[in-house]
């Protein structure tokens, strides 16, 4: 793919717009979705059905003062919320939205994505550390131990996908799954991969919830224990950026799940593929995120690590083994 300055600018604007829109409106969707699940109506006042609510929230957050508590490291404190946004937006550069919509096709895009995902945890660590608040400190240590633990099964399941496709390039992985849902990694009939891949998908999905710090694994936020965790001391747009970063991480996680397991932009029946299929799939996944969040109680940090070390890691390792055997046998 040829890279010109116009191409780069176009994608820069496009990705920023996509990211901004998602960050703003996923908050709205979350509130509406939660409200419907709880038989309420959610935001209704600003605009038709409350559609301008994110705008109002944004104006409110931006017009407030960013309070920097006394005695904290001001630079790190201010940098942390920005750092929460950057990896998520950067990740979007390598995500193939369709066969020809991708900012930058890279050979090792899977690796890059996981490197950036680990960086998102870094923002929480810095924010919690720099706040000079005990709740925030506990929260950031929780976030680190959680993310580190969940990288392992996540990478194990990704390796199964990489084994099947034989590539670390997201574009290739998606192209490999074109032609109907029976070719998607999760249901892949070829070589009998569907036997193990749905388990891989489940493990991967659970890990993405944990990686993005979403309920029921929102140990870092845990509002009934740690007040607001690493965000306790943040107000105004500092808080806003953390929230937006959280939603962007969800979008990236959903994109990644779609590419790795759900055939990317492929139509389920193998008819007309296109970017709309990609969007439909990621929003169904995002809805599931919201749905899960508003159904379950929160786990507890040690139960969470137990789940990881006792269930997810053994299962993902066995899964990897079986997948490798299947590839070898057939």
């Amino acid at each position: 793919m040829e890279t010109s300055i116009w191409h780069a600018l176009l994608y820069l604007v496009g990705i920023l717009a996509f990211a901004g829109l998602n960050a703003a409106y996923l908050g709205y969707c979350e509130r509406k979705g939660a409200a419907r699940i709880q038989r309420r109506s959610g935001p209704t006042e600003v605009g038709y059905a409350g559609l301008l609510q994110p705008l109002a929230d944004g104006i409110k957050l931006m017009s407030k003062q960013l309070l920097v508590p006394k005695g904290v490291d001001g630079i790190i404190f201010r940098a942390a919320p920005i750092l929460a946004m950057v990896p998520a937006i950067t990740s979007m550069a390598v995500i193939p939205f369709s066969g020809n919509i991708q900012a930058r096709a890279m050979e090792l895009s899977v690796l890059l994505l996981f490197a950036l995902a680990a960086l998102a945890m870094f923002a929480i660590l810095l924010g919690g550390w720099a706040s000079g608040n005990k709740y925030a400190l506990i929260s950031s240590t929780r976030a680190v131990s959680q993310t580190l633990a969940y990288e392992i099964p996540m990478l194990f399941t990704v390796i199964t996908v990489v084994l099947i496709s034989g590539s670390l390039n997201l574009q290739d992985i998606a192209l490999d799954q074109q032609g109907g849902f029976w070719r998607w990694n999760i249901f892949r009939i070829e070589n009998g991969h569907f036997l193990t891949m749905w388990i891989s998908f489940l493990i991967f999905f659970i890990c993405t919830i944990a990686e993005t710090n979403r309920a029921p694994f929102d140990m870092a936020e845990a509002e009934s224990e740690l007040v607001a965790g690493f965000m306790t001391e943040y107000g105004s747009m500092g808080f806003g950026l953390f929230m937006m970063g959280e939603y962007l991480n969800i979008v990236v996680a959903a994109c990644l799940t779609t590419v790795l397991f759900l055939g990317g932009w492929d139509c389920p029946l193998g008819l007309i593929p296109g970017v709309w299929w990609f969007l439909i799939k990621i929003y169904i996944l995002i809805f599931t995120f919201i749905w899960i969040r508003w159904t379950f109680p929160r786990t507890q940090i040690y139960k969470l690590l137990n789940l990881n070390w006792k269930i997810l890691i053994p299962f993902s390792m066995v899964n990897l083994l079986i997948t490798a055997v299947l590839i070898k046998v057939f």
Partner: protein
Amino acid sequence: MTVPISPRHDETFVLNLGPQHPATHGVLRVKLTMDGEYIVKAEPVLGYIHRMHEKMAEAGTFAQFMPNTARMDYLHALAFNHGWALVVEKAAGIEVPPRAEYIRVITVELNRIHSHLLWWAANLLDLGAFTPLLYAFDDREQVIDLLERVTGSRLTYSYMRFGGVLNDIDEDFIAGTRAFLVRLRERMPVFYHDLVTSNIIFIKRVKDIGIITPEMCRRYGVTGPVARGSGINYDVRKDEPYSVYPHFDFDVPVFHECDSMARYMVRVQEMEQSMRIIEQALDALPDGPIMAKVPKMLKPEAGYYYSAVETARGLLGHRLVCNGDKNPYKLKLRSPTFSNLSLFGEVTQGMLLADALAFLGSLDLVIPEIDR
């Protein structure tokens, strides 16, 4: 699950939980000495909403204290009303007409369901689940509407009077209550048991958390659902019957696991027993007056009086000392959660912060009642 730890005191830090904290449901402060996420020492600090109700009781007449009683335990206000009415009736020797006593029991039990529903909701909120809260509030709203219809207010009822109750109940209320019981029985298995009780995350959070042994209950004077979750079969309604409770056939749920799950199960099953009591009371509701003939100004004989009632949180005792005057000479309120909370420090030693808060939720605290 408590993990034995040997804290290094140079590495502990103090964490102030409250007085404003989402998990304390009011203004309780707990001073925690922490070693990482483990609690080394927990000291509850009380008194942030202390209003000296006992002095107010001494300052006014017996009847003038009635509105105060509802403001201590705002979730089971009618039981506090009932307790105060009973002790004064005992002191003054007032006979309450049976219809009034039945109405008292019906409203108190409805209020108990309301209190347990709200506890259920708040406990789930402590565990991080928000949706069950609103499902429970949906049901709770029905109870409040029913009680508002008969008492005239929604939370702090001041409904009882010495010798009876303020208003009579009508056919609409009876029909509404029966409809509510049907509705709650329908929703119970789905919204309470399927969604929460059998949920694996919930079970893992509450099972074997916050073990209170029966011996500990006795030493600390723990009563109510907390004691019954520790295998102590003690319910004032059964063991020291007051009002018309002996007329009804109901069970006292007792669980022997001593953990948060046991306390949860006790409360959920108590709601069912309360529904049984209400049904029987509605079926057997006698006719007659709702107020006894009571002198305008009560002047009970000098003496010591004690009366206990079972609120949603445990034994509420009124120790009343009269000197023959129109004011109580001394009133001591023995509130259940004051004693129930006193074991918090001992139980939470070596617990994780998250578990300690789940345990705090399972104690069902109402702070104004602790602080009085």
